[in-house]
Amino acid sequence: MTASRLATGGSAIDRSRPIRFSFDGATVHGFAGDTIASALLAGDVAVVGRSFKYHRPRGIWGAGVEEPNALVDIGGPRATPNTRATTEPARDGLVAKSVNATPNALTDRNAFLDRFARFIPAAFYYKTFMWPDWHRFEPRIRAMAGLGTVDADWTSPGTADQINHHCDVLVVGAGPAGLAAARLASGAGLTVTLVDDQQSPGGSLGHRAGEIDGKPAAVWVKETIDELAVGGHLILPSTTAFGIYDHNLAGLNQRHFNGRPDTLWRVRPRQIVLAAGAIERPLPFANNDLPGILSADAALAYLRRHAVLVGRRIVVATNNDSAYEVAGALAEVGAEVRLVDIRRDGMPAAPANVPLVKGRSLASASGKLRVDGVTLDDGTRFDADCVLVSGGWTPTIHLFGQARGKLAWSEARAAFLPGDPVDGIAVVGAAAGAVSLSDVFTGAGPAFAPLGQTKAPLPRSTGPEATGGILPAWPILGSKGRIWIDYQNDVTVKDVELAARENFVSVEHLKRYTTLGMATDQGKTSNLPGLALMAGITGRTVPEVGTTTYRPPFTPVPLASFAGARVGELMAPVRRLPLENVHRSSGAVFQEYGGWLRPAHYGGYADAERSIADEARRARQSVALFDGSTLGKIEVIGPQAAAFVDFLYYNTMSTLKPGRCRYGFMLSENGVVFDDGVLVRLDEHRFVVSCSSSHVSAVHARLEEWRQDRFGRGAVYIHNATAEMATLTVSGPNSRKLLETLGLGLSLDDADLPHMAIGHGSYAGDEVRVARVSFTGDRSYEISIRADRAEPLWAQLRQAGQAFDAVVIGLEALMILRAEKGFIVIGKDTDGTTLPRDLGVDGPRVKRQTEFVGRRSLFTEEASCDNRMQLVGLAVPQGEAPLPTGAHGIKRIDGRLRSQGFVTSSYQSPTLGRPVALGLIERGATRHGETIDTQHLGKISKATITAPCAFDPAGDRLHA
């Protein structure tokens, strides 16, 4: 028994509330207020995980977010991999498992890997996975390396809240600096948001000595927090500020620990005060990764917060003043403590009952599954069940770095401190290099100076003051044994040396080559020692080597936080038809088409293909009903409406008579066909752009752009009425007869309502617009009515349709009907190179005298070259199956296969009893009748080039 829980003390724990949880299958006891780590230490569990690469036994190192070793997978209803045991509250019934260990951390069966360590140095993957056939080893090697395991069956218990928040001052860190800054900001009448990643505020005041304004630190913390809460300021515990983004946006992740998903906060403060403290560094000596070797500051935190004494015979090794308080506190509670300082002079006095060894450093630690002693550089050996180390302090300035703050090297602190100020961010406290409470408070004063003057007095430190003396103790070349730099990624001094030898000397290369500073801890304890070592090896100074780029997130953030409510259907919400429920009750099978959820078919047969074929066949026989509500209905209104549509369309539209429709293309400025559709002229100054369903937003945006850029506010007005109206299509030889039964109050006579004309009528008191346009090749009427009044009209169409054997068709059948006619779908039968001429529409290019979008691009060399891909029909030999869509037309050049185009649409036509297909084929328009080879997945078959239209080429049925 070495580590243990003391009988009294522990500011964070509540001894009246014992809890139990499981770790690697064994029961662990603790109290409310424990973290998993403090409870494991109290239970003397030394080995809590295995290292990433060598499967070395690892114990708890720290007491906060910097923890590199003690990662656990949390099971149960809120399974989370790679959780830091040092920040995860211990809860009753929690199930935790060590990472990268099988079956458990203590008896890991891959532990043998450590004996092969010299065969798997840095960059081992890069070198091994090349030769001779790395696929053979890769799966096993990958399985042996790594950290936690993702639970494939995990489902979120809910969606994470995302909250947008504004305040004057965001204070990150509720230690002495943050609390002081928050209080001063409050005194200036500013609104404050105070966040801290611990469950309770205070930061270092929770375990370091201090007296403020004549009160014990804990009392001052509580009073300050109460005062802020009463002042209406937002205080968020268990919340990490993980990133700073452009224009001072801060990302916060708040944890709840009650099964509820975390909350993401997007805070836009006027000023950010970064008071995130500092992180203690390890010291370099052989086997410095053994369980039982901890950060000295962490040991003090476990003692004072959790009443956990980390060992009985303790060696405290340091290069700076901060470890002296630790040694004294441990000796006070009865541990046998020995202090080893690399400095010969200039250090504080040794605490009572603590022998001090001056001018010596640790050379190595010994032990198997936990440390059992250390040897100094003069060969002296001390037995120990615990070794505490302090290699100095690294200010937590990640957020400052993310905000593009430049860092400045401080020789006195042996650390990077914030350099030139960044607008909107102030760094205070230990993060700015302050050590004593007096310095911390003085530095907090000007933190929000740009925003106002405070009436609150500056807190005063009235107790003992910490000192910051330090003598750097960076890892150096030529030391004996294996000295760990990065615990989490198993990077040793030799790995950094190897990187330097192979010329990966840039700090960014060093990171990628050795993995130093990667993974979940992002090198919080290891980066500085690593780059200081590289500096030493390459004869540069630390600032010359520099740091890697700081990027969010500071600590891992659950993807659920970023996703928020954007999961499942809400990930990319579909647009829905006003008649969706009616279609559902008719058995419709829905699919998403260009963002719309539409009936694919109506499920007449169990077999979808047969249902679709049946709908397409019957549509040609009598009459078909189709919900075309998704069709674009963008109104262009105004004195220059005609000039406007002339400019937007490839075809001349201003000559269209009111009450008539015209089919046309819209081009992009590069001449490529962007959309096609029918333009309706309602009256002299009013048009309706009936664009493709999936293109409505894009067409609308384009119309707006040209309106604002070229025509102006007084010239035209654009209104997207797509969602306001439902459009019900009646198509087929008997469509007019069916429509006549409705009594819409307009003449359906072909003289009054010819093909490509519109009429106005009414249904049940509502205005309806009837457009005689066809996408099927049969006589068709599109009836548009207020979306909320469409249901009775649809019901009556179906009712009246029974007498005509009417069929309701889905989009799949419509696709067959239009393909039979050779009608194209933009983006399916065209691509990003298709010009109008390639679709056989060259008249406007030649004839038009007025300007239109894309015009100049139609007269380029490229547009005129003779081997362009052109729209064709493709027929297959008698009895063969439809060509696969996407199959390539091929030809042989010098014995090699080359594509000469591809199949864009292909269906079995139930009416024609044979396949029909459309394609884009080189020079296709001049090659009708020619038979070519097509290839799909290696299979070659024949196809004959034809005109695009395979059904009723004369167009008689439009009028039948």
Binding site: D246, L249, A701, R856
Partner: protein, 88 residues
């Protein structure tokens, strides 16, 4: 996340905006525009390091506007409607 000032709606998150190209990229009209000029209009962008004058559209209100901003510091220098009447 940058904050862009829409001349009509005020400061809004950058995700609500679409980029519309360099400001001052005047469209040359006609079927006989010299091909280099047309190609420049279509494809040549200045991509400056530092101050840039750009067209943006605020998708929420649909208004296009001219914004001057620094591509290095991401500082927004000015924002005005196309007609110059509304200035944010």
């Amino acid at each position: 996340m940058q904050l862009f000032p829409c001349p009509f709606c005020g400061p809004r998150d950058e995700t609500e905006f679409h980029y519309g190209g360099d400001a001052g990229n005047i469209r040359p009209d006609g079927a006989d525009v010299p091909i280099d000029r047309w190609a420049n209009y279509l494809y040549l962008r200045s991509n400056p390091k530092g101050a840039a004058r750009e067209i943006w559209v605020h998708m929420n209100c649909g208004e296009f506007f001219v914004m001057e901003r620094d591509t290095v510091t991401h500082k927004v220098l000015s924002s005005a409607a196309l007609d110059g009447e509304h200035v944010a």
